[in-house]
Amino acid sequence: MSQSFELYLPRDSWLHRMDPRAKLWVVLLAATVGLMYRHIFVLAGLLLLAHLALLSAHIPAERLRWLWARLAPLLLMILILQPLFAPGPGPDLLALGPLRLTVSGLLEGVSFALRAAALAFVAAVLMLTTDPTLLVQGLVRLGLPYPWGLTAGLAIRYLPTTFGLFAAISEAQQARGWIVDQGGFLHRVRSYVPILVATIIGALRLSDNLGLALAARGLGYNAQRTTLHDVHLRPADWLAVALGSLAFIGMVVLRFGLGFGAVPW
């Protein structure tokens, strides 16, 4: 009855088949475009593109809604705080004491929120459709030592497990009458000690056992490590890299050569 916290969704699609290195490259370029531009149309376009990519890779719409729900508090905060605290030039739409609301401030808020959402979904294109094993392998091919790649993979793998441990222990302590101290920040932090201590002990025990399990399955066996599914760049991957790079150059020229997109509108 536990919930799954896994990111990667195994499917059979063009995005899943794409070489992780090629995908990483295109995603990095797309993220850079997201950071270069403040124009609402460009950011909205990027967001739309990420959605189309995910949907075409058979990622269920439910998962996209799930991600939106997780992002909602952050986006809402940006939408509210950005216009109020950085109102920008232009006539006031509304003035409440020191707080001013302007059209430019509002647009700025929309632009920032769109950028956050676009970056999250662009990252999701990589994370939801890439087998972490292949991602690690791709990185190793690019020169990353295998133990580093393995460590990164394991860190991602065990985040949800540690979170689950935290939740289970917090339930156990609540059943013993534990409640969060409603006092100041320090009181609050202190009241988490019964859960944090037990979680840390549990996580350390888990990592000890994981170390044993990795060794028992031959980590560091005296042979050249092979891989079941080799990653290799197919013509389609090169095409994706080429098209992505061309589009990126186009966007750089548009932004810096023609000066488009430096403002939200």
């Binding site: 195994p10 609540q174 009458g177 409640i179 019964p194 056992n209 060794a215 028992a216 490590r225």
Partner: protein, 584 residues
């Protein structure tokens, strides 16, 4: 020269590093000799602090290389001394299945999990693919090939871990508690997997296991470990006759072996059986077949008498974890009178745990209502409900966090807002009840497993809640721990406390509960007195529950005049003795 021996341990002693400077390191393995011939299947049983897991780590060559500590004597696995061969160098000859699934499944897909070890061995992709296909077929995992290991059921996880180890084609396979923590469905899956392994017969197996039925089914030799030494060694059948000796060593025997021992003591007979079939053949001999009328089940017993005042009342409870997901509970109605001992039984995922988590507000009803001691739980915080409902979770030792035993036990009562004098008095009496006064000022983290388990019981006792919920308390509990826990529960029950036991151990439910509630797919499928419920074979099968052997045996002997309504070994013995005539 030792080519005939798969595993050899001589004069083996091992101690972990002392918990704190100045403390004395205790020998966990203390002078052990073991020799295992190729193709054998050796089982190791013992109490939880007997050193079973440590022995597994030593024989797999992981200790002392990765655990630190002091080792004396030596271990040789297929001719390789583990001192000279660090763990990676042994990976192609010895495989170890760990107790905990969580720590050994770390890959994103089932296929990648099995592949990982093979990649380390440097096998060419084509051979890897072949071995993966073979293993997934052997362990019936083909349909899960692209699934994420964390999403699998308990039995599937165990089988995947086994596949990952077996794919590396070890000559020696070490299984640490392969049945541990599995529900009846998972247990059956793993039993099937092990019997296919037995059938293949190409690998030498050493297995620690607490489940005596599994040991009896597979092992050809059984070693009883006690305080790091071999206390007994013989065939499982021979050892399981020594019921009392094994009980003293913290080892339980198959229920029917226990029955044979009890009958033999009482009747002076020489019964010798482990399985229901054997027992039936043995026991029906002194009896004569009655006419067909005798073979019918007794008329169903009356429903439990309504006791005054209900302690727990659940009405039309619906719950789902996420919108649009299948509801985990679908219209559950349950009324538990004050002072009743109820067992909630059902396979994993049936909704038992989801149901009881509503009793102390860890979950809130999506629809319907729950009240405890007359209080509507929706009006109370979890903290307030902790006064009324105590919880014992699986692996309760994981919640221990305090610097001293005394502080740990005081944590609950203090949270309840009791006066310092009251807290002290409760803690003192709880420590005394569980024999912990001597270690009151010691840090729990360095105490033995048995003591830490008692600390969790004392912590709960000090809170003294009127309603007590136990969620699968048998998981990870050895025979002495089980005895201790249920002795205490019997005391509480006698004092009028209400007890809800969540379990899939039907023998336990039959022995202790006054009433059994069968939970299946989020609904209550059956509810009644244990004797009546065990007659409903179809219902039990639907809920993936099996009859405890002694009950199945009683029912099988109905044509010979037994009523077949005995729930425990003692009750069966009573009735059987009366039937054959005491002492005849």
């Amino acid at each position: 020269m030792e080519t005939q021996t798969s595993v050899l341990a001589e004069g083996l002693r091992f101690a972990y590093p002392p918990p704190a400077p100045g403390e004395v390191a205790a020998w966990v393995i203390d002078g052990l000799d073991l020799r295992l011939q190729p193709g054998g299947w050796l089982a190791i049983m013992g109490a939880s602090d007997a050193g079973k897991t440590t022995l597994c780590l030593l024989l797999a060559g992981l200790a002392p290389h990765l655990t630190d500590g002091t080792m004396e004597g030596h271990v040789v696995v297929t001719g390789r001394d583990t001192r000279q061969h660090p763990p990676p160098a042994l990976a192609d000859t010895v495989g170890l299945l760990f107790q905990e699934a969580e720590a050994q499944l770390f890959s994103p897909t089932v296929e990648a999990e099995v592949a990982w070890g093979l990649e380390n061995l440097g096998l060419p992709p084509a051979e890897m693919q072949q071995r993966i296909d073979d293993m997934l077929a052997l362990l019936r995992l083909e349909h899960l090939r692209h699934r994420t290991p964390t999403e699998l059921s308990g039995g599937e996880k165990k089988r995947l871990a086994l596949a990952s180890v077996l794919a590396m084609q070890p000559t020696v396979l070490i299984l640490d508690e392969p049945m541990g923590g599995l529900d009846p469905v998972g247990r059956q899956e793993v039993l099937d997997a092990l019997s296919r392994l037995r059938h293949e017969g190409s690998v030498t197996i050493l297995m620690t296991e607490s489940d005596p039925e599994a040991v009896a089914a597979f092992a050809d030799r059984l070693v009883i470990l006690d305080q790091g030494r071999i206390a007994l060694e013989a065939s499982p059948r021979d050892l399981f006759r020594q019921v009392e000796r094994l009980a003293a060593l913290g080892v339980s025997v198959p229920q029917l072996a226990q029955l044979a021992a009890v009958l033999n003591r009482r009747l002076g007979s020489a019964f010798d059986f482990i399985s229901v079939d054997e027992a039936q053949a043995n026991l029906q001999r002194p009896l004569t077949a009655k006419d067909a009328a005798g073979a019918e089940a007794p008329s169903s017993p009356p429903a439990p008498a309504a006791l005054a005042g209900s302690s727990v009342k659940v009405s039309d409870l619906w719950f789902w974890y996420e919108q649009e997901s299948t509801p985990a509970l679908r219209g559950v109605n349950l009324n538990v009178p004050t002072g009743q001992f109820v067992a909630l039984v059902g396979a994993n995922g049936s909704g038992k745990t989801t149901l009881v988590k509503h009793l102390n507000g860890l979950l809130r009803p999506r629809r319907g209502g729950v009240s405890v001691g007359g209080q509507d739980t929706s009006q109370c915080s979890v903290g307030e409900l902790a006064r009324s409902v105590g919880f014992l979770f699986q692996h309760p030792e994981q919640q221990i966090f305090s610097a001293t035993v005394q502080k740990e036990v005081a944590f609950g009562p203090r949270n309840l807002g009791l006066s310092p004098e009251e807290v002290d008095a409760r803690v003192e009496s709880a420590l005394a009840r569980f024999d912990l006064s001597a270690v009151a000022e010691r840090p729990p983290a360095i105490l033995s497993y048995g003591l830490r388990r008692r600390i969790t019981l004392a912590s709960l006792a000090a809170m003294d809640p009127p309603v007590l919920v136990l969620d699968e308390p048998t998981v990870g509990l050895d025979a002495p721990g089980l005895r201790e826990t249920f002795q205490w529960l019997a005391e509480l029950h006698a004092r009028g406390r209400t007890i809800l036991l969540v379990t899939h151990d039907m023998a336990l439910a039959a022995e202790y509960a006054e009433r059994i509630v069968v939970v299946h797919e989020g609904q209550i499928l059956g509810d009644g007195l244990p004797a009546g419920l065990f007659e409903q074979h179809e219902l039990l099968a639907r809920a993936s529950l099996a009859l405890p052997p002694v009950i199945a045996l009683g029912q099988a002997l109905r044509p010979f005049g037994l009523l077949g309504d005995c729930l425990t070994v003692d009750a069966f013995c009573q009735e059987y003795a009366a039937l054959v005539g005491e002492g005849s």
